[in-house]
């Protein structure tokens, strides 16, 4: 049983970071397409962080049989993984401040997820890993909070666009 629980935990941990990285990377492309290079660069950085985290989880998983999980078999409390940035929270005029706030939102959810896993874990190894990862996520949250402080808050009318949308096909 405990082996299964470790495997399942790690499968989720890997998917959490992989999906987060994939989403950040997509958002970076989207921002590039919409000529928001500054935010695109930040999203790309976030994608890189997530990829590194995924790598480090994979290192921990060496020697453990990690089961294949289809995307819809992952047991998240929301439809997507806790660190996957919600698409609807993006905007073409979003600023670095929004970007970091979004990352912070994700890291906080990541922390909550691992804290919850630690509390629920029946397996000692899982509990230990979840606690470690929760601590890491807390560190990410702290770093992001520091980072956000260095970024000016956007003007209240940051999303105002005086031009109407263009028409397509």
């Amino acid at each position: 049983m405990s082996g299964d629980e470790v495997g399942s935990f790690l499968a989720h941990a890997i998917a959490l970071e992989d999906e987060a990285a994939e989403r950040y990377s997509d958002l970076a492309d989207t921002m590039d397409t919409h000529n928001n290079g500054e935010v695109a660069a930040l999203f790309r950085q976030m994608a890189e962080f997530s990829r590194r985290h995924a790598d480090s989880v994979r290192e921990r998983a060496v020697g453990v049989e990690v089961p294949e999980r289809k995307p819809w078999e992952l047991m998240w409390s929301e439809p997507e993984g806790p660190e996957t940035a919600p698409v609807e929270r993006t905007h073409y005029l979003m600023t670095p401040y929004h970007c970091l706030q979004l990352a912070l939102h994700n890291e906080r959810r990541g922390h909550a997820y691992y804290a919850d896993q630690a509390a629920k874990a029946g397996d000692a190894d899982v509990r230990r890993m979840a606690e470690e990862m929760a601590a890491e996520e807390a560190e990410h949250v702290r770093l992001l909070e520091e980072w956000v402080k260095t970024i000016p808050e956007p003007e209240p009318d940051w999303d105002q666009d005086l031009d109407p949308p263009t028409t397509g096909d």
Partner: protein, 276 residues
């Protein structure tokens, strides 16, 4: 050497979407690539067909064969592809305007023709490409369009009712806010024989910004656990539908239309019948 299984990422093309950041269609695209990865279909054996509209841009973003046709005709093109090439997996995509307004007739007849393909209708209840006009699924009192300042004032089409009434063999509703669940739904739609219809609630953050809160409104259907296999039962369930219940509503077993068969004669024999 055994080939590595393809991942969702492998099914993304290197063309980047032009959709607005925040658009639900990004998540539909994510669901599509995840579904393809689950099915492990060779990229060259998949045809993605669409018409015109924001959502209809999707073929170029998928690493598969694609056909981006004219407005409203995706289902006709897709039917042609599948009838001529039964070996291909054919998925058609489009928006509510493309599929239910200009292409409405093809929707009716594709449901009843029951060609083995999957149709994903990305419904945002608005025309995005032409700057936000009412579509056939827009509420009668939506007043944001210059064309219909007092609202369209006409009854919206209910796509699932229509699909069921016209004989679609698989009818489901998904939500872009749950791309993983949607991926599973598309996999099942694709595997189900015949014409499979998936309505996807996919918010337009530019012209219908209020749809950002669809996440709060969407809920899993109470009957999601048990898919109806007969039409009256599915109709009964739809009677209580609030438009936001997700899940597979109906999966039937009507015969698939595939009229192509191997040749049984040569042209010369046919020509001889003209001889007098």
């Amino acid at each position: 050497m055994t080939a590595q299984p393809l991942t969702a990422k492998d099914y993304k093309s290197d063309t980047k979407p032009i959709w607005c950041p925040g658009c639900g269609d990004y998540s539909v695209l994510a669901a599509v690539t995840k579904a393809l990865a689950e099915l492990q279909l060779p990229k060259e054996k998949v045809a993605v067909v669409s018409g015109i509209g924001c959502s209809s841009r999707i073929p170029a973003y998928v690493a598969a064969y694609g056909f981006h046709g004219v407005h409203g005709r995706a289902l006709a093109v897709a039917s042609g592809v599948k009838l001529a090439r039964p070996d291909l997996t054919v998925w058609a995509f489009g928006g509510d305007g493309d599929g239910l307004s200009i292409g409405g007739n093809h929707f009716l007849h594709s449901c009843r023709r029951n060609v083995d393909m999957t149709y994903v209708l990305m419904d945002n209840q608005v025309y995005g490409m032409t700057k936000g006009q009412a579509s056939p699924t827009t509420e009668p009192d939506w007043c944001e369009s210059k064309l219909t300042p007092k609202g369209p004032q006409v009854t919206p089409i209910r796509p699932l009712h229509l699909a069921l009434a016209c004989g679609a063999n698989f009818v489901a509703r998904g939500f872009s806010g749950d791309p993983n669940g949607l991926a599973k739904m598309i996999v099942e739609a694709s595997k189900h024989p015949g014409f499979s219809f998936v309505q996807v609630l996919s918010p337009c953050v530019t012209f219908r910004a209020e749809q950002r809160n669809w996440k709060q409104l969407v809920h899993e259907s109470e009957d999601a656990e048990e898919v109806a296999s007969d039409v009256p039962e599915a109709m009964r369930r739809l009677a209580a539908d609030d438009g936001f219940a997700t899940g597979i509503l109906y999966a039937g077993d009507r015969p698939v239309y595939q009229p192509m068969h191997p040749a049984v004669t040569e042209l010369a024999a046919i020509e001889r019948r003209f001889a007098s």
